[in-house]
């Protein structure tokens, strides 16, 4: 099983538990259009949007992975469904979109049937990695050493 370790360390390679406490278990991510949509753009003589690079937060409290609505819109991806979400203000509906995730550090590709659009504007992250992806992984959060591990 391939394993990816992400450590928060200082410039002398000393563990910095405060790093993971402050930022959470974040991972670099590239979000792009699904392959079939890229082919459709080509057929229509339209440029294929470049992948959008940023950070994703691994969130065991999220049942489904989410991507910022602005990111999805800039990729030109159209909605394929609706999901009911539970918020402190009561139930709310959000759109679902297809998308492709690539985690360059871990070299993991995930082609999604659909993920949920969410308002992450103003956050340092552009996606949440929820339990739909984590259902395929082993995830270990080591707060004392300031690191996390993904096995997949």
């Amino acid at each position: 099983m391939p394993v990816y370790n992400h450590s928060f360390v200082d410039d002398k390679n000393i563990p910095q538990p405060l790093g993971i406490l402050q930022s959470g278990p974040v991972i670099s991510i590239e979000i792009s259009v699904p392959q079939s949509l890229a082919e459709e753009f080509t057929r229509s003589n339209l440029p294929i949007p470049r992948p959008i690079v940023g950070l994703a937060l691994i969130d065991t409290g999220a049942s489904s992975s989410c991507v910022d609505n602005g990111t999805i819109e800039s990729l030109g991806i159209k909605s394929i469904g609706i999901v009911d979400t539970m918020t402190p203000a009561g139930p709310k509906q959000q759109y679902r979109y297809p998308a492709h995730f690539f985690f360059p550090a871990a070299k993991i590709n995930v082609d999604f049937g659909s993920i949920t659009g969410a308002d992450l504007k103003g956050q340092p992250i552009m996606a949440l990695i929820g339990r739909d992806i984590l259902s395929n992984f082993i995830f270990v959060y080591n707060g004392t050493l300031g690191m996390y591990t993904i096995g997949y």
């Binding site: 079939s36 949509l37 409290g61 999220a62 989410c66 159209k78 539970m86 049937g113 949440l128």
Partner: protein, 85 residues
């Protein structure tokens, strides 16, 4: 989400839900306007077919299941992502 661009498709699904559950149980249905365009064993195949038939426009992919899925993202919807003291 202000206006639901898939409302017509969702209404069509709800109207025919019992029939879909009987004939396409657990399948992913591809719906545009008030027409069922196909049934698939997974969401990706449904999307790929939708793109080929309809191009890049909104369409509904709905799994024919009785249970309603409610998504929970506790920290996001509580406004607690990257909260600090």
């Amino acid at each position: 989400m202000d206006t639901n661009i898939l409302q017509k498709e969702l209404d069509y699904y709800e109207k025919n839900k019992e029939l879909f559950l009987k004939n396409y149980s657990n399948q992913f249905l591809l719906i545009k306007n008030e027409e069922l365009l196909g049934s698939f064993t997974n969401e990706v195949d449904a999307y790929n077919t939708g793109i080929k038939k309809l191009g890049n426009q909104a369409f509904l992919i709905k799994q024919a299941i009785q249970t309603k899925f409610i998504q929970t993202n506790y920290s996001l919807y509580s406004g607690l992502i990257h909260a600090s003291l």
